[in-house]
Symmetry: C2
Subunit: 207 residues, 2 copies
């Protein structure tokens, strides 16, 4: 791969993720990222403001996609369904980047400052979604509650998508997570794996 | 109030909150807090590790109370009901400190670093509650989903309790927030204030 590649951003991103994984985010410099990518620091700064932005550059696009999906949901859609449409749109955007998402997650999980940044990012996405719901006429606190519940659904599904390669795509995991939220909120007992055994036990007296 | 007061912790806390509110958290020093409280810096450091801990010292007690309430919930209780018991216990602990909570919230909201610390605190409480639910036999992802949903219910209720003095106690606001989460997850339309008008509109053709 010594030939000239036009995709500088992808090369820088890949080099950065490798280095963050190998030696930690704090101990990696922009100079090293550029060197590993076979590019100059100047090229790095044409694409990213700093080494942290390599991990967070997609968040504006993600937020726009989600907010637009809420706004575009059918007029009669319940807030949770408008939110589900937003999460589906987010899933479509992220699905292509699972390998990146997994590497990135490991880097963020290993660094308290990055974790805080990640929580801020989710809080800001939640606030934007609540505003989009209010734009559809949903009043408070329902708008914030729906947006926050949507973030929970997304976080749980995203963690499974990143951690468990066998679990399939992000969109079905989000739908599953949403179904489980409905079950949980409705007071089901949450012993998902054990449910069959549990009901069997309850019928012991009939056997 | 020039007489000697034995409640040094409360005096320091009150002085700190006043100063954080007046000149901002970053521009307040421990020396100033001690002076305003009429105490020494040495006394301050007997009660708090630093000026940030004045805002966060109760979190271990809060987490313990919540985790114990989950563990103590009746054996047959659904996860969401065990979680509701935890939030009730948290409400009882916080109810006495509403004036402090309101002042504290304003300080935290005005400072990005403190906001991040607050998000970390909530994430850690959520993780502890998920672990307590797993201890009751709730499997993943239901345990995390329930704990996170509980945090959402708590956050929304807490914000109303702090922002809207007319809304009454924290415990009823938590129950209301939980009921709204159930409604939202169940696909209700969330136009709470407008619900009557909305259903009227739907029946226009019968009039």
């Amino acid at each position: 791969m010594s030939r000239w590649e036009p995709n500088a951003r992808e090369r820088l991103e890949r080099a950065a993720l490798e280095l963050y994984g190998e030696r930690g985010f704090d101990r990696t410099t922009v100079a090293e990222i550029a060197r590993r990518a076979g590019l100059t620091e100047r090229t790095f700064f044409r694409h990213f403001a700093d080494k942290r932005e390599v991990l967070f550059w997609g968040e504006t696009a993600l937020q726009d996609v989600c907010v637009n999906a809420v706004a575009a949901a059918p007029a009669g859609a319940a807030p949770i369904d408008a939110l589900a449409a937003a999460l589906d749109a987010a899933a479509a955007l992220l699905e292509e980047r699972r390998a990146f998402a997994r590497q990135r997650q490991a880097v963020v999980a290993g660094n308290a400052r990055l974790q805080e940044r990640e929580l801020i990012k989710l809080a800001s996405l939640s606030a934007a979604l609540a505003a989009a719901l209010r734009g559809r006429g949903v009043t408070e606190p329902a708008a914030s509650l729906t947006a926050e519940a949507g973030m929970v659904v997304f976080k749980i599904a995203f963690a499974r998508w990143v951690d468990e390669p066998g679990q399939g795509g992000l969109a079905p995991l989000i739908r599953d997570s949403l179904a489980q939220l409905r079950a949980v909120a409705g007071g089901e007992d949450g012993r998902w794996e054990g449910r069959r055994d549990h009901s069997y036990e309850g019928r012991r007296d009939h056997s």
